[in-house]
Amino acid sequence: MAKIIVDGKEHECEEGQNLFQAIKAAKGRPLPHFCYHPALPVAGVCRMCQVEIEGVPRPVIACNAQVKDGMEVRTETDRIADVVQQILNFHLLHHPVDCPVCDQAGECALQDQYMNYGLYEASVDVEDKIHKDKVKPIGELVMLDAERCVLCARCTRFTSEITKTHEMGIFNRGNHAEIDVAPGRTLDNNYSLNTVDLCPVGALTSRDFRFKRRVWWLENTPSVCAGCATGCNMTIDHSEGTVYRCRPRPNVEVNSYWMCDEGRLLYHRLHDEDRLRTPVVAAEEGPRTVDWDEAYARVQSLLTADGGETRRVAVIASAHATVEELHALGRFADGIGAAKIGYRLEGSEMGEADDLLVSADRTPNAEGARRLGWSQFLGEELRAQASSDTVLLVLKNDFAAFDENGVDLLSAYAGVVVLGTHQDATMDLADVGLPVLSYAESDGLFVNEKGRAQELHASIAGPESARHAVVVLAELGRLLGKEFGWEDPAALRRDLVATEAGWGALATGIDRTGVLLDVVSDGAAIGAESGSEGGGE
């Protein structure tokens, strides 16, 4: 351990630690900076994080210094303020007066630093500024405005160190230096939008989010990506019931600071045209929109055989459902004596894994389903259960999309009730479709492939008449004469912790980075190979 004195206050830190981080820990807030990023190699190009060190004649940049025991650092002297202001003046010399049209406005480091350290009279006339490329798409998702760039080199470092795709570089010299993609290249790797997050100014902006919403109107809800089994932590930025973008939320254990473009853009599906907004029932001319009472009446009639006795029920769970929903479905099935077919059609929903974040398993909660005792199933099992005396209940599972015989499989059942979020292939075959809340609209848990349980939080409200799946299950139970004592996901989680083995880690609560669950004895191999689910069951 080493002791340093920051602005007269003693602080303990590691010997040899990066001084920037030590000062950030000591002061509770970072020094002004553009180029420093904890997950990227130090570049030391922006010169903003100047500090005075006792015994060193000139100010030095903290990001490139190391902690030595007894070091005395001053960060708030007049000299530092003056130096930072001068450097900022350099950065802004040729910066366009673009803030009104710049999407970065509101979360722009330049704006913040100018308000903290700038506030000087501009020394260059607007007309004399050097003009560079503006509104230049450099990839499918990224827009470049070279004028706004402060040459912090974060984006180039990202493409060379993290994705190792080397699309971007700094070209020309002096006043005319600018970032761009290498000639003939485009920024089209699956992580390109991370450069937008990294960019401290408005040089790189997202074409997906471009001009959609001013950032100060966005509310931020911490959540987890539902795109694959990695479970990247993310922040959902939404406003007035609409999700506008998703950004990675730092979690060193899972996704560091990054997130793939695919996962980011998944939110579009929330507002898709085919989102199920009201209950539907099958009719001659196609699905018909009804209200909940009528939908339940239809379920009731499906459940009642001609003789008046109640039909058998078989349930299919899903790796897209939260732990609470899966647990509710399990309790529901046990309660009414239904057959539990499984959570996933074997082999479906798999893709290519990459070596950064994307997992081969494209479902967010397969591990959770497995831990709750659900298994994968084959088409035959579905067929075996099929009889004219059985009603199939499907929770958030679109297995029909992966089996060409879906129609045949399901037509053998007396009825199919689907709790889903979209009018997908399975919903098309359903007799009754009940709209439930999606992952972005409800609280819950996903367990990623490494057994880390992470919390989702409801960000937007969801369609007006959609209900939480556990509520729908409770109401369906009531239709069958069973009273389950849960009203919300929280009650189910408490029940889960109390009754099931292996969930004890949840008892003390979960912080924003999630909690690693105990390894279950019969659990599948968890690790790099977890993408292939086959051997587990």
Binding site: C99, P100, V101, A105, F211, R214, W216, W217
Partner: protein, 173 residues
């Protein structure tokens, strides 16, 4: 009109003030008051044209340039709105009456422009903050139009085209 004060006691006034003997019956004072009102009536009957009242719809009041009237959107030389949809006005608006949808603009010198620009005039409190917030001098409230009448609530939600041509002479330069 100046007030005339009758004696020091009237000045110290208040509920507890005692009236003089003559005033207690009010009669004299009532007659004096009635003489004043009648004087006004008779004077105004024969000098109706000197009355300060404006015959409003026929005579328009003059107002200073500081009057905040109905909003207008300024145009560029080519007639397109000067607004860049930066949402500053919508952000500052205390009445939350401005809603703007931005769009990519294809023109080389314009990056962003309002796809729609709506002001709910029923919500507007005419504080003028939008004008002060605008970095492009794109919105002004100097039309001098202060009358609002329509036969539906929807008619008060004015759109981009309306605001672009919202002056009596139709010029928003």
């Amino acid at each position: 009109m100046a007030y005339s004060v009758h004696g020091p006691k009237a000045v110290s006034g208040g509920a507890g003030a005692r009236l003089r003997r003559g005033e207690a019956f009010y009669l004299v004072e009532i007659v004096r008051g009635m003489a004043i009102t009648m004087r006004h009536l008779l004077y105004n009957m024969f000098h109706s044209s000197t009355m300060p009242t404006l015959e409003y719809p026929d005579e328009r009041p003059e107002h200073g340039p500081w009057l905040r009237g109905r909003h207008r959107l300024m145009k560029r030389e080519d007639g397109s709105p000067r607004c860049v949809a930066c949402q500053m006005c919508a952000t500052i608006c205390p009445a939350d009456c401005i809603s703007i949808l931005a769009q990519d603009d294809d023109r080389p010198d314009v990056e962003k422009s309002p796809e729609s620009f709506e002001i709910n005039l029923l919500r507007c409190v005419y504080c003028g903050m939008c004008v002060e917030a605008c970095p492009c001098d794109a919105i002004r409230m100097d039309t001098g139009i202060f009358e609002l009448a329509a036969d539906s609530r929807e008619a008060f939600i004015v759109d981009r085209e309306f605001l672009l041509n919202n002056t009596t002479d139709g010029v928003n330069r």
